[in-house]
Symmetry: C2
Subunit: 84 residues, 2 copies
């Protein structure tokens, strides 16, 4: 077994309103920053032991599908690296 | 001017309690997943025009320091790429 860290990034699907990101953008603009867009996402770094990177990725995928992401409104991606 | 996307990742500093991440971990364990740790972070993808990548990074750094991160409890990092 090898120790891996799987990073799951959960974003709202294109077209789903994100009022929190809109407010953050407006607050930055009020502070004088000039920006063309802002999108927010939740990131989870998960430490897990697995036989190989592929099996670590499969488990992280399943965690995203069962709990971390809501498939109606979210897309997610998974990135796996060996833990340092 | 070139279009860049700056990704600001905001994490709780080591030692700061994260009850939401603890609950997420426990929920995954209740679903039968075996994991050694879970850390959560907020990620902001910011589109901005700048003369070069260095100036884009400086502006994203300043956004993190003034609004996106709370220096008492957060660390952050900034990653800049040319927008596609």
């Amino acid at each position: 077994m090898t120790a891996y860290t799987a990073t799951v990034t959960v974003r709202l699907k294109h077209g789903v309103l994100d009022p929190e990101a809109d407010q953050t953008r407006k607050a930055l603009e009020r502070l004088g920053f000039d920006l063309d867009g802002l999108r927010s996402a939740d990131r989870f770094d998960i430490d897990l032991d697995a036989d190989d990177a592929r099996s670590a990725r499969e488990r992280a995928d399943e965690m995203a599908e069962r709990l971390l992401a809501n498939p109606t409104i979210h897309d997610y991606d998974v990135d796996v690296v060996e833990a340092e």
